[in-house]
Amino acid sequence: MTPEPYGESRLDTGLRLVTEELPGRGLVAVALTVAAGGDDDPAGGHGTAHLVEHLMFPRDEQDGADAGHVALVQEAGGMCDAETHRDHTVFHTVAPADALPGLLALEARRLLRFAPAAATVRSEAAVVTEEIRAAGAGTRLWDGMLAAVHPGARHAYGTPAELRGVTAGDAEAFFRRRYRPDRAVLCVVGDVPAGRVRELVEREFGGWRAPADGSASAAPAEARTAVASPVAVPYGRDGVAVASPVALPYGRDAVAVGHALADPRQGLGPYVAQVVLLEVLRRARSAGASVHCGYQGQWLASAAPDLALVLGHRARGAAAEEAAADWLRALATLAAEPPAADEVRRAANVLRAGCHRRADAPAARAVAHGRAALLFPPAERPAPDTVAGRLAAVTPADVSIAAQALLGAPRAVVALEAASA
């Protein structure tokens, strides 16, 4: 096929390639997105995906016989990082455009040579454990609420006790099973012609093939231990949770309300309308509560079941339901009557500007393209420049319908208590 300036093609190995020409900045961004996330962790190995992400950055051998991945990228004038989510892992690099051949060679090399030593696995597991520790109470709140509104869902960081048991063999088995060209998208955005990108990708990634034994062709989800929510929210009528009798420790007395968001893969429109709804509420109708849309405040960062989190005031001794009443009333008001057009326009404008800011960075564009291609059906792909348009199209009636949907979706209402209480 003839690649378009912005287009997608597939190598005969199954690897999908998305390219976008972004002339004028002298930069190129490469994002390798793999359908391997925390939800793929094996039973008893929570954090394996996160650990494998770390192991994809081989460090230099003693005294520099073979420089590490980060050092080699930096020597090419670039920088690199990675993120493990529940449904995918993405490795992203940005560098001067003329470094692309070297970058692609490095990217392919770490895929082809993945064979971590036992000592490396131990040291990286310690690094991951430290990341989990540093994430702190804020992350534990998010994870508790996630599991409450989406039973069985869990974060991708990992569990220290389980990470300690992950061996080099386990990591390599996970890699062989999940890191496969037919489960990955490579995206290249920048100051390089798409045809040249394709030539380079075919040259460097032609040797990355799925295991010949077919052991992982379907790569089904493995059975894993059911995740118990620390909040233990019993579900009542219509799948809507009632308040939890269990309080979570937190930095202050408060109430947390978690709402399950619409599935963007089933329709980007209803999901985006909920994003606008939450911004309308955040701007002027939240009764003092802080409103966060998407896991850790990032919406569309993955396609895994997502949530909104609202943190409101709760007086010492007050019941969670009582403290959440103002917020739920504000939501019900919008469900009953659409907001003014001005309110929706303001919320959408703020969100659109944020979309444009994020989409301006080559690395962020590459990551967004990769996620869209890997995780979303073609008709609902949230490509970098399409989301802003979808936001602008949201009407007051859409926002009201979004409020009705949010009220009808699973939610959790949980008291948070200061540790000193």
Partner: protein, 419 residues
């Protein structure tokens, strides 16, 4: 000339229109065709004037951009949202930067809102809560920073002295008086980057901000008493610090003077990226530090080469010793050709990231202009790096890195044995 670096694909500098308006505002309009957002950066000189002005200066910075005589906080927020605009302020040792990022069609409205915020500000009275008994104690890093600069460059100087003088919160009269002094066009820089025609943008700036008057404020950092840092070793002790800190101050040459590019490359061989000597030696080999960096710092007060390390409690002496050894080795023998090749490439690529997004580009370009550099300074930086020879990098290391010319300052939980 040794040009080991491959020719880098260097983007052409953007078209820029620069004019000084009748009110003294240095205005730069940069064309970014097709940009969905316009970026505005207003850079005001904002160095600390005197101790008594610290509180009004802080409160003006916190309140600027939030309310006007005709619009309260909510109305300003609503107007900004109407335009798809985000307004923010950042204060540095030298400047207050007011940033506006706005949907392209909202640029005229954003300039009008900006003028309203500058010309008709409203500052709310301080709360009725009793004033704190005194200023909060500075943290370990701030104390080490002040000690480092005081020893290296002498004092008194705004960068080496205590901050807030304490006492009751200033009234709104003091805030308006400070606003009239500091938030003025003469001496300030306004940069607008966006897709609109630059001449049209300049006309809009003239129309909306032409009535803004005053200045210059004189809020610029004075030079340090000494131009060259005084070498030596100082050690602070704080059992509650929780970690060991090291800051150095060595001689340096600022941009854009000749010799800066060579020093920058020598400094990168020392620290600043994954293959730098200090990174490999202190962090990778010995696990002695959590973080290590080095950079040439420059402002109107002076210029110095600074190494910045953070390590475990009790390691301050050892870190200082290892850093001195690395400085000495690099000054004496110079970098290897391979090290120089690596840092050339790294430096050229990394400079490009300052322009990776239009928001970052606007901030970088406004910063260059405010620092007295040409607006297209960064576009010529890769070529300047490529022209530096390996011998010049070695000469820069020999001249600027000897430990005998460097101040090593540490703060640790245990008293130092070697200071």
């Amino acid at each position: 000339m040794n040009t080991l670096t491959p020719a880098l694909l260097t983007p052409a500098p953007r078209e820029a229109l620069r004019r000084t308006l009748a009110n003294g505002l240095d205005t730069v309009v940069v064309a970014a065709p097709g940009a969905p957002l316009a970026e505005l950066r207003l850079v005001l000189p904002y160095a600390r004037a005197d101790r008594a002005s610290v509180r009004p200066q802080e409160l003006v910075a916190a309140g600027l951009g939030t309310a006007t005589a005709g619009r309260d906080r909510q109305a300003v927020a609503d107007r900004a949202a109407d335009l798809g605009a985000e307004v923010s302020t950042v204060v540095t040792a030298e400047h207050l930067v007011l940033s506006v990022s706005v949907l392209a069609h909202g640029l005229p409205g954003a300039l009008r809102l900006l003028a309203d915020l500058l010309v008709h500000p409203v500052y709310e009275p301080a709360g009725t809560a009793p004033a704190p008994a005194g200023p909060a104690a500075p943290g370990p890093r701030t104390r080490l920073r002040r000690a480092q600069l005081r020893h290296a460059f002498g004092g008194p100087h705004p960068l080496t002295e205590e901050g807030d003088a304490g006492g009751p919160a200033p009234g709104t009269d003091a805030l308006y008086a400070f606003h009239r002094r500091a938030v003025v066009p003469r001496g300030a820089v306004l940069l607008v980057l966006g897709g609109a025609d630059p001449d049209r943008v300049l006309a809009l700036v003239r129309a909306e901000l032409g009535g803004w008057a005053g200045g210059p404020s004189g809020l610029v950092l004075p030079p340090f008493p000494r131009a060259e840092p005084e070498p030596g070793r100082i050690a602070l002790h704080d059992p509650a610090a929780g970690q060991a800190l090291l800051l150095t101050a060595g001689p340096a040459v600022p941009a854009p003077e000749p010799g800066h590019a060579a020093l920058h490359l020598a400094q990168l061989v020392l620290a600043g990226h994954a293959s730098s000597r200090l990174t490999r030696h202190l962090r990778e080999r010995h696990g002695l530090v959590y973080a290590v960096d080095a950079r040439v710092r420059q402002n109107r007060a002076g210029c110095w080469l600074e190494i910045d390390c953070v390590g475990a409690p009790g390691t301050g002496d050892r870190i200082a010793r290892e850093v001195a050894d690395c400085l000495g080795a690099l000054a004496e023998s110079g970098p290897t050709p391979e090290e120089t090749r690596r840092v050339r490439r790294y430096a050229a690529g990394f400079a490009r990231f300052a322009l990776a997004t239009r928001a970052e580009e606007a901030s970088a370009l406004a910063g260059f202009v405010a620092a007295g550099l040409p607006v297209d300074w960064l576009a010529h930086w890769p070529a300047a790096l490529a022209e530096v020879t390996d011998a010049q990098v070695a000469a820069a290391a020999a001249r600027f890195l000897p430990p005998g010319r460097t101040l090593l300052a540490t703060l640790d939980t245990a008293p130092a044995q070697e200071a």
